[in-house]
């Protein structure tokens, strides 16, 4: 154990040095995996690398990844973001907190199609922040809601990060998707509840409401959102009902997104090629990270470090709660400098045996992991989404972190709830019709 502990520490330091030195994440994972096999095991590292990567990328389930990314890229180019504000705003007039809810709902819908919290925060923020400011809304709350909500949609399927987790741990992507729905909605409700309460307490800091818009006009302004909502519902519904695998649902999503884009007049040769090219690049980036992580996972398996670690943690006889508390802290620290997908693949290769040994459900752990990882993206003093907002508003990061703090605390509440009541995540998958 002692010798392994030393090795594990050295490897950990090696990973950090490579990452901090600016080596591309996927290659850093691969390098550490190769070095581990080369130094510690008597198998040919190169051959193991090639077969492992082949095995991890050659996958029907993983084909859902580029398809969902492509669907998102097509929808990005349909003026979805612009429609979001005009479409949602008139419905929120009577709700306490009014247009703050547009931030939350807009992010939820947008993240459902994009699967990236940074992209969600940037896209929705670029459009809603100036609008909220112009109408005299409290800027602190506007930025806070945006930072918080940017992260929540990653739980709402189709979630790219859950596909990555499913591929890395060989879990059913369909079940993961369905498991993410309730926690995602719960988080949105928490955020919206906070906005409402804040608005009721700080009544004098809310601007005068806009003119009432008649129902028919509202419906007209929202018309372009309905097809998108229908698309998301269709994709999730067909997976839930067992009519389609995630890959099939994703492809249908692509086709419908193309139709939608054609109807809204944004489908041109250039926009089609643009979306396809961007999807190809992004999915290539993620697949390479998965491939690198697969090499690392196999290397770790050879060394026995994860097994030993699991046994060691087991010998401490921690309660699952203590273990999860320690892990949460660990992920939040990692989130200071790594993006969500990298954290997921980096940690699953080492800690998964530990989770299994602790008797935790792997699907549930995926939801917990995504929740915590997303929380880490808005953690002061450093976090990815905070940087995006810094770029958007020009405020310094600490100021933004302060504005985001209430939402960070709400996320902690969400994590506690999901830990205390695992059924929040696990109930819905149990009711799935097949598969």
């Amino acid at each position: 154990m002692n010798e392994l502990a030393t090795t594990a520490t050295l490897l950990g330091v090696f990973v950090l040095v490579l990452l901090a030195g600016g080596l591309w994440v996927a290659l850093a994972l691969m390098a550490v995996g190769l070095a581990t096999i080369f130094l510690m095991v008597s198998v040919p590292p190169g051959a193991v690398m090639a077969t492992t990567i082949w095995g991890s990328v050659n996958s029907w389930d993983l084909a859902a990844l580029p398809m969902f990314i492509w669907m998102g890229e097509i929808l990005f180019r349909t003026k979805l973001a612009e429609d979001m504000f005009t479409g949602l705003a008139p419905w929120m007039r009577r709700v306490p907190g009014r247009l703050f809810h547009v931030n939350v709902l807009g992010c939820a819908i947008f993240a459902a199609v994009s699967g990236s919290s940074a992209a969600t925060t940037a896209t929705i923020g670029r459009m809603s922040l100036p609008e909220l400011k112009r109408r005299g809304y409290d800027e602190r709350m506007a930025i806070g809601t945006l930072a918080g909500s940017g992260t929540l949609g990653l739980l709402i399927p189709p979630s790219i990060i859950l596909i990555v987790y499913g591929a890395a741990t060989e879990q059913s992507i369909a079940r993961l998707f369905i498991a993410g729905i309730m926690p995602g909605i719960m988080l949105a409700v928490l955020f919206m509840g906070y906005c409402a309460i804040w608005a009721l307490v700080q009544r004098d800091r809310m601007p005068v409401p806009d003119e009432r818009v008649p129902y028919l006009t509202r419906l007209w302004q929202t018309r372009r959102l309905f097809p998108v909502l229908a698309l998301i519902a269709g994709v999730i519904g067909s997976i839930y009902g067992g009519f389609a695998s995630p890959t099939e649902a994703a492809v249908v999503g692509v086709v419908l997104a193309l139709l939608l884009s054609a109807f809204s007049g944004t489908l041109t040769r250039a926009s089609f090629m643009d979306a396809l090219r961007q999807a190809t690049r992004t999915s290539c980036m993620i697949v390479l990270i998965l491939a690198g992580a697969a090499v690392l996972t196999v290397a770790m398996g050879y060394t026995g470090i994860p097994r030993e670690l699991a046994a060691f943690i087991g010998s401490l006889e921690l309660s699952p709660y203590a273990l999860l508390a320690a892990l949460t802290l660990f992920f939040v620290v990692l989130g200071c400098f790594l993006d969500g997908i990298s954290i997921v693949v980096l940690t699953t290769s080492v800690i998964l045996p530990m989770i299994e040994a602790a008797g935790l459900d792997i699907i549930w752990f995926g939801i917990y992991l995504v929740l915590v990882v997303e929380m880490s993206q808005i953690t002061p003093p450093v976090g990815f989404n905070l940087f995006v907002l810094q770029g958007l508003t020009g405020y310094n990061i600490l100021k933004i972190a302060r504005m985001t703090l209430p939402f960070f605390l709400l996320m902690i509440i969400a994590v506690v709830l999901v830990v205390a009541f695992p059924q929040i995540a696990l109930w819905l998958p149990q009711t799935m019709l097949s598969r």
Binding site: L19, A20, G21, G22, L23, W24, V25, L27, A28, M30, A31, L34, G46, A47, M49, A50, T51, I53, W54, V57, N58, S59, W60, L62, A63, P66, M67, I69, W70, G115, S116, A118, A119, I160, A244, T247, E248, V251, V252, V254, V255, M273, L276, Q278, T280, R281, T282, S283, C284, M285, V287, L288, A291, F337, D339, I341, S342, V382, V388, G391
Partner: protein, 184 residues
């Protein structure tokens, strides 16, 4: 030379995009077939039994092709992520040295990747390994494409390394700095 290399990256990326399109077309055809069959059953006729043989396997192969052929293009577009937080706070000289080292490592690793995937493909070819599905695809074919993509990737990293050593800005990093903030 410059023109040839840029052309090479572009062709590889087009092939990757075509592979993604192929996945979409094949899977959509399969889904439509199933929907059509369901409609047939609902109207009381017997199902046609529309099926694309070995679709799951072929989609996997196409995904490998798409992912590896896209490596060079996405690398040069700055789509691949890395941690720049520490680098940002380093003095210009140290940062450059660190980036050059990272590029050298990337070139080395992608070279290894190209070599060993090529050997995997070669072994599959020599032993005549085939996939298990209804359509038995020789594994050397998709593995060969994987090796090809890895090779173009290796060329792209060396290309950038050379550019840096000559004192220029490597394309991958320059593009990243332009704000390729659209990565996931």
């Amino acid at each position: 030379m410059r023109q040839f290399l840029d052309g090479l990256y572009r062709v590889a990326e087009w092939a990757a995009m075509a592979a993604l399109c192929a996945i979409a077309v094949l899977v959509f055809a399969q889904v439509s077939g199933r929907v059509f069959d369901t409609l047939l059953v609902m109207t009381g006729s017997s199902p046609y039994g529309f099926l694309i043989p070995s679709l799951a396997e072929i989609a996997g192969f196409l995904l490998v092709g798409a992912s590896f052929l896209a490596l060079a293009g996405s690398f040069r577009a700055g789509s691949h992520i890395r941690v720049t937080l520490a680098l940002m706070h380093l003095p210009e000289k140290v940062r450059r040295a660190s980036e050059t080292t990272a590029l050298a490592l990337a070139a080395f690793l992608s070279g290894l990747l190209a070599f060993y995937t090529a050997r995997l493909a070669w072994d599959s070819f020599v032993y005549g390994e085939k996939s298990f599905g209804i359509i038995a695809v020789p594994l050397s074919l998709p593995q060969g494409v994987m090796a090809l993509g890895a090779l173009v990737f290796a060329i792209a990293t060396i290309d950038d390394l050379v550019a840096t050593l000559r004192g220029g800005r490597p394309t991958s990093i320059a593009k990243e700095e332009e704000g390729a903030g659209d990565v996931a």
